[in-house]
Symmetry: C2
Subunit: 458 residues, 2 copies
């Protein structure tokens, strides 16, 4: 029996991550300025084509006879079902919608390794049919259980053993995080950062980059994919904050209070029971054109595990806005967090950014029902924008789902009275919460990844 | 706008809690040795009677026409419904059972206050119909939302304002914790410790005790109730452990792996769809006599919010065993934790003790299906038992649900090969996880409360 104990905290890791974050222009692999061209080259090296198809042309997918649920004949992958939501007691908190059920937990894993004493991260040029430019910088491994257990009989997932065989590497982060609660029912993925000392075989679709290089690339639109961003958000970098508006305990108490005060009742229903939506041969959509459509695509790909397939996807009807409002207290930047109810969350609320919405779904600026702080964010002067880029949401399920991502410090500080459900926390507090699941939603994690990689100009 | 920041960690609190834990024989109120007599006196001061009644004698409760679900005509309190569970893929992971659905989040709150520089905790002598001795030491406030919003039109819940009005006191702990996952569907309660500087009016059913006094009282059988124990488990005491078998990150990774590897599908069904159970006028039970029965009681009480009522309860068919096996590595005690699937957990698994079962439900010692480590725990020599007491589970829902609670250090260390789903962690690591919800189940929290209060003889 081994009796060698481990220190509970790896005190050296924060320094090593800081060193990696400081390397922003070059590393052991490509220079930062070369990555976009390399992605374009990888894009050209493969044969990719995504086309919208009618539901009738889906292969292996069909609407179940009694429920109308859209599912694959293998019973795997995912299904499109219905959700009936009731938040609070009144009719204004009641809605129905299609939702994706995908109970299996996927792995989003980034492999890390030191080159010349600097941590690098193995990023993949990966095609996903929903991305506007198809191919983006992705985690080393991005695999559903169906992928890595070979349900669709494709090629093996490269490098997956580093994440599925415990003890092979050193785990730097490993946490189940929720995915989009408005589109997925109870979906979570395993976000992993694993460091290896082994020789890692090279592959033309992969590149080693420092944390700082990835941070620089997060300034580009549609370059670093969502799966990479959520893993990067879980990177245990150090934030030198000894104090905050709320102590860590007060913050946990605020969150517990938010989770307790919302009474939600989310009920799974059949897709054909969903009211307010209509189906035609090409889509399931709302007559008012809001939110999203359920559509289908055919995919031809050379670098994916299988060469061609068809699948349903969700396509939002407008571009989203994801933004944190920043304010300094005693000079220390704080983020305005929002405890959000989303229909697909496992547990009531998670912390989202200050603003998370699709502006087209809401009335005119200043009108009733306009999300709080949206206009403040959209009207910010350029010099008050600390971070800005357009990013895609998960390209394996969501088609052309782009979000305008912002970190904004308004000229005029907000008053001390915040609307219900909002509170100030520091980037370090947000990062500490993201060590655990069920706290920080995927949109807030996209913005957090810009902080853990040093992309936000504080 | 306030700009005064708080330190993120309250560095003085650990010392104050240690001082309170050191006071074990007396405090500002009763001496420890006087508490049992005081409880007996309070018991005599009220008029309590609990009687088993047939379902037909329930007032306001009835079986719904189509589902057979047992519910109250107000739509409040709780319902007894059915659960269909599928864990993994095989028939051995499949079962159905009655389960309690109570979506509202209750408050379990203990009020703290310094007397002569020592923290004391306001404990209540509270009657619950399911407790074998009816009246036990309880949190200051133990209230469902129905209680404190007065759905059953009783008296106001004493001291509840300290917990429902944020900012009135200083929050020492505040976390949503799961309740019994085998009996409750997705139930959680808000566990709160709040310190006040205000004058607190005295009440004959309440007493101020130090953490050490409560720890001493945890050696008595059926004296400190479950609701008090789970809040005490969340007390942020300091454990001086800088190292452990697994670093904190490795432990989180183990837990994430356990949560990921279990594929569970829990489906709510109607009570009259539950197979393997039968109903007669007095109970819903299994023909083989295993697990529990659904029964009804009539209650006469003088000190509860309403003077008399009837309600359904779950009555286990045998006494449970809840035990942690302890082993020292480099002299540092570690607990053998078990990642348990329970049908009512919101998220797959939580950390339970090494042993959690009702031995009567399982074959003879050494036989197949006997829970791992059960016989090791039951056969431990008295000098290897570091903690032992019989405690009741929640007396508001569970009738005569007693558990034999143990912390045992076997003479012969276990081998380094553990069964799947088990791992060693330190008491401090367990306590750190209990700052967050969804990690530590209620049975493990009972044993943890014996550690946070200094009741375990390390």
């Amino acid at each position: 029996m081994t009796t060698a104990l481990h220190p509970r905290e790896d005190t050296g890791l924060a320094g090593r991550l800081a060193r990696s974050a400081a390397e922003r222009t070059s590393g052991a692999g490509l220079r930062t300025s070369e990555v976009a061209a390399w992605l374009a080259e990888r894009r050209a090296a493969h044969r990719f084509a995504v086309t919208r198809i009618p539901f009738a042309d889906l292969e292996g997918w069909s609407f179940a006879p009694h429920t109308g649920n859209l599912r694959h004949r293998s019973g795997r992958f995912f299904t499109v079902e219905g959700l009936s939501a009731q938040v609070g007691e009144g009719p204004e908190g009641r809605w129905e919608q299609p939702i994706i059920r995908q109970p299996e937990v996927g792995i989003l894993g980034i492999l890390a390794k030191e080159f010349d004493g600097v941590l690098h991260f193995l990023m993949q040029a990966k095609m996903e049919p929903g991305n506007p430019n198809l191919l983006q910088l992705s985690p080393t491994v991005q695999a559903t259980r169906s992928n890595y257990t070979k349900v669709h009989r494709g090629a093996a997932v490269k490098y997956v053993d580093h994440f599925t065989r415990p003890g092979r590497g050193r785990v730097l982060a490993d946490v189940l995080q929720s995915e989009h609660g408005s589109w997925f029912l109870h979906k979570s993925n395993r976000n992993m950062l694993v460091e290896t000392d082994e020789e890692v075989p090279a592959d033309p679709d992969f590149v080693w980059l420092t944390l700082g290089q990835i941070g620089e690339l997060l300034h580009a639109d549609n370059l670093v994919n969502m799966d990479a961003r959520t893993v990067l958000a879980c990177t245990p970098v150090a934030f030198a904050e000894r104090s905050a508006q709320l102590s860590d305990m007060m913050l946990l108490s605020w969150f517990t209070g938010e989770r307790s005060r919302h009474e939600t009742r989310m009920t799974s229903i059949a897709l054909n029971e969903v009211t307010g939506w209509e189906q035609d041969p090409w889509s399931i959509r709302r007559p008012d054109g809001r939110y999203f459509e359920v559509v289908s695509v055919g995919v031809e790909a050379g670098s994916r595990e299988v060469a061609s397939w068809t699948q349903p996807m969700f396509e939002p009807t407008g571009r989203g806005v994801i933004a944190f409002v920043v304010q300094r207290f005693d000079g220390l930047p704080h983020l305005l967090a929002h405890a959000r109810v989303e229909g697909g969350f496992l547990d009531t609320v998670e912390i989202g950014p200050t603003v998370q919405c699709v502006p087209d779904n809401h009335p005119l600026p200043g009108g009733a029902g306009r999300p709080p702080f949206l206009d403040l964010v959209l009207e910010a002067k350029p010099e008050r924008v600390l971070y800005e880029a357009v990013h895609s949401e998960e390209g394996g399920r969501f088609l052309n789902a782009e979000s305008h991502c912002l970190v904004v410090e308004p000229e005029t500080p907000l008053g001390s009275e915040l609307p219900p459900g909002y509170c100030w926390l520091t980037p370090g507090q947000l990062a500490a919460l993201a060590r655990h699941g069920h706290y920080v939603n995927v949109q807030a994690r996209t913005l957090l990844s810009a902080m853990t990689t040093g992309a936000v100009a504080w």
